[in-house]
Symmetry: D2
Subunit: 338 residues, 4 copies
Amino acid sequence: MVIVMKPSATEGQIQHIVDRLHEFGLREHISRGEERTLIGAIGDERVLRSIPLEAMPGVEKVMAVLAPYKLASREFQSEDTTINVDGVEIGGRKLVVMAGPCAVESEEQITRIAEAVKGAGALILRGGAFKPRTGPYSFQGLGDEGLEMLALAKERTGLPVITEVMSTQEVDLVAQFADIFQIGARNMQNFMLLKAVGQASKPVMLKRGMSATIEEFLLAAEYILSQGNHNVMLCERGIRTFETYTRNTLDINAVPVLKGLSHLPVIVDPSHGTGRRELVAPMSKAAIAAGADGLIIEVHHDPENSMTGDGAQSLLPEQFSELMVELQKLAEAIGRSV
Amino acid sequence: MVIVMKPSATEGQIQHIVDRLHEFGLREHISRGEERTLIGAIGDERVLRSIPLEAMPGVEKVMAVLAPYKLASREFQSEDTTINVDGVEIGGRKLVVMAGPCAVESEEQITRIAEAVKGAGALILRGGAFKPRTGPYSFQGLGDEGLEMLALAKERTGLPVITEVMSTQEVDLVAQFADIFQIGARNMQNFMLLKAVGQASKPVMLKRGMSATIEEFLLAAEYILSQGNHNVMLCERGIRTFETYTRNTLDINAVPVLKGLSHLPVIVDPSHGTGRRELVAPMSKAAIAAGADGLIIEVHHDPENSMTGDGAQSLLPEQFSELMVELQKLAEAIGRSV
Amino acid sequence: MVIVMKPSATEGQIQHIVDRLHEFGLREHISRGEERTLIGAIGDERVLRSIPLEAMPGVEKVMAVLAPYKLASREFQSEDTTINVDGVEIGGRKLVVMAGPCAVESEEQITRIAEAVKGAGALILRGGAFKPRTGPYSFQGLGDEGLEMLALAKERTGLPVITEVMSTQEVDLVAQFADIFQIGARNMQNFMLLKAVGQASKPVMLKRGMSATIEEFLLAAEYILSQGNHNVMLCERGIRTFETYTRNTLDINAVPVLKGLSHLPVIVDPSHGTGRRELVAPMSKAAIAAGADGLIIEVHHDPENSMTGDGAQSLLPEQFSELMVELQKLAEAIGRSV
Amino acid sequence: MVIVMKPSATEGQIQHIVDRLHEFGLREHISRGEERTLIGAIGDERVLRSIPLEAMPGVEKVMAVLAPYKLASREFQSEDTTINVDGVEIGGRKLVVMAGPCAVESEEQITRIAEAVKGAGALILRGGAFKPRTGPYSFQGLGDEGLEMLALAKERTGLPVITEVMSTQEVDLVAQFADIFQIGARNMQNFMLLKAVGQASKPVMLKRGMSATIEEFLLAAEYILSQGNHNVMLCERGIRTFETYTRNTLDINAVPVLKGLSHLPVIVDPSHGTGRRELVAPMSKAAIAAGADGLIIEVHHDPENSMTGDGAQSLLPEQFSELMVELQKLAEAIGRSV
């Protein structure tokens, strides 16, 4: 931490800051420039994060030197984390594609789609039983029943299952059916929920909040990691910008940035990230080319009759199959496989 | 809803859309332009929100005519909602200022600040017992104990209390101590929580999410209203933009916009909205001049030792008193009072 | 400037940075922390702005201590700048309201509106002769002819005139007719144009670019100031955010922020800033309450037939008169006048 | 255009809108819904863009059906535009990589880099003679002299040259030396400049403004096309969002979106788009995988001593060579070549 003092700061004010640093077990390093005096805090500056240094007399601004997260950082763990889900390795050389419908709608629907995506090469089945919906009048998911249908589809196809958990009260229930917990973008800073899945034993896929910076995203992952659950994967799913042509702006830059700052696997969701079916294939390829470890893609055999209104972004099974063929070629060109 | 067909759309595709509208009890109105055919849906278009019309063959885009919320709209209720909290009317001619520390830290702290803000004219006491914190290593609030301290401060001063509830599991507990539930910005789309407070009997102050549009904000209010709780107030607290000089960009425009679209009271939080003490007074005045029904302001007698790191935005009690005097003059100039 | 070295930085790399600082006449101050070594640059760090320090081996990041602008800063000049335009003082206790149509359309139109706004208390007449338009097929302004009509309206009413200049080639021409040059938001970083008006002798009102940070805005003002023209006023006119209900998000926070960082007068444009007539009055009041030195407001007696499509945000003359009465009360409440 | 009337709109107000449509040679189609009356405008709605329909009594909102640009649209021209620059085809199956330094600094520098990038497979040489700089105290480019050095480098290597033109006054001068005009992001809405290059005979690469929507970007291209210059290529170079880890957010989504909406070639600038050297390679690959027709990349043999401060994003010649090898593999995987 570097504390920049105002030009008008007095010696007493500088000493006061130094005293506070000592209180927290840090040492100071004072640099008197021509226009400003700087105080460097030596030691683990993270202890200062909760201290309102800016509120102290004579302080102009405070500049952090270290990232506020630790367990999620590449500095803490240099080698890549890989997560084993029922034999499927996430974060390794082989890319992992998760696919399935936005919401579980019926036994017939989920098993039919599960078989189709398995046939095309998907390794994990996605499908929502609890659905976060912007408006209260929309279909909110089948709940428990949906979880049971997912279990059935898993039994039939052998595909491990990822599904969303929306509140602390459902963590135990969802844990009985899911192989991976999904934390949705709107819950990325639902800290109670982060703690709850951090104490559970299943892997977690954490989606980036719509307006979350990379730092906030990694801090949210830190919440889960700090509770003891080390099997966390990060999912870029689009951020909110001024552009409205796409539903969100899928931030492909986040892929190499996250891979650089963190050891956790990075998954990309081009379906929610763009909201447009015709963009799913090009953005899937872009994600892989940029270094993503996997994709999560919506597939529906009858999008027009899907119950969530997200049909506009779902691929048909045959479109998904074609995409998988193209991704295989692309993966080989960069030394990976699908 | 107006459905714009592609130039290449066939008669069969147009007929298909019409058939779907009929299924949902709507009628169609077809307009054949020179470049596009438009299909207007006549009836309550809200039933179509969950239907992926964009996914249907031949459809270019879908344009909503009506707002997706209903109970929150001025059209549904033209007169202003006023909320009575222990004799304090929110949404009336008199402006309501809520004030207090970011977090409850001790009995001495909260009662001391409560007395100070009451003396200056605040009508409601704010103070967090459960604190949402970006990082897992920060002070997370005193929890139950904090609630009891709030109750004590209320007893001493007579000020009704507003405090945050962060998860469905704590709704009942918080209801025992709080006069108003606060839903934080990060939980604006925690739909489970919205439903839970919607079923409770206490008024709710809903904070706008950092990247929530006005429409999404009103839809979140609709979640609460639709569960039967009509005592909802909206709180603008800053949105996330590219500007980083202020912590958030307090969106004063939202005040007259919300007052126009909705009948619910509008409160402004200049403390979190700007993150800078020196901006609290000018932005408080701006909010009132723009038509806000109240303010929620952080006050701390010893910000340097506050436990949340938010001290940088807290007013000292004497600064708060001065501001209240200025607000009184301003309020009179626009025909209101503090 | 503080240069943060990577944990892996060698002594040689540190020495290399030090050598480069010496080359630029700066001294170093080295602080060896537990996790990072920091190098403070002592002297005028602005000389380092053009040096790619981040590109040097061993460097993790570079943190600026000083603002990159100088002449525009409060530190450089502590007292407020006031600008005298034909006897009208801008930046003093009295608020200055500039009003008029978006574009000059005819002699009859501009003189009629000029008389109306003068009657209501406006001190400066606005009106565009050269109009920046998003699309090439829209009305682009009357050009030279429009300037002559403005001159006529000035002659009739005695109101000084502000009008936009869009390219270096027109600076001399516009200078013959305008009392204040307006630089539009889209030209805020048209550096050639900034230099040209910086060398002219008329005052300049610089509009903030739609995606310009406060720092970039003040740097653009610095361009003009550095050429010798000290009569610069800053105009907040809305930034681009994710919110689309308003055309732009008028950033009222910018008012106290700019007044704190700079000595230049601050004007607010609620017409372009919101794009909606019904928001002009509340946002005008908010701007004044927040400390703005003036407003620039669109007024048109027949907005439906205005030629720029901006009629939707123009006040009618009688709405403008009413607003001026309300602004007078508000101004008095904060110790100013209109 | 669909005009949505307020619930309270009178028959007279509806008739008034109809009369206005007739005035502009359009026909109406009226749809009376349960909550609103809609008026569809039949004919070329672009003539209505300049009419403030929202300002008319009884109008609630106006929704555009057609895009406001025409010549730039895929609907106007379905086959891809290809641009021939001295034998190099842009927009065809072969990807075009443009490379070179940010700014021309000396004869030795530009020829050395030109030879290096040519050797690695670049087809066009980039280099700025006139440099737009955020602050007035930075190096502003060598100007005329820089143009001559570019010409020399072209003579030596045979590479066609792309360079920026910043004002209308320099269009003729730059045209003597450049094979492609570059319009910078900050000038994307410098409409005078767009018209000037629209009247010139050289191809133009138009960079997307930092806060420009896709629609505004295509409208800016339309300005150039409407003046008769059909050789326009679009360059995505990063947009401004709340994320500050990267200098801008390179919007890869824009690639397939632009290719879908327009027939113009799409180039991506990963250097300015990210501002970080380590992101240039992954984002170059992402751009190609998403369907870009080319890249423009900064290369410098001595970034530490580059004069623009942009060294932090420049590749070394050997890094560029490696990237070109990887891009070749990737291009083959998607059926193209470098």
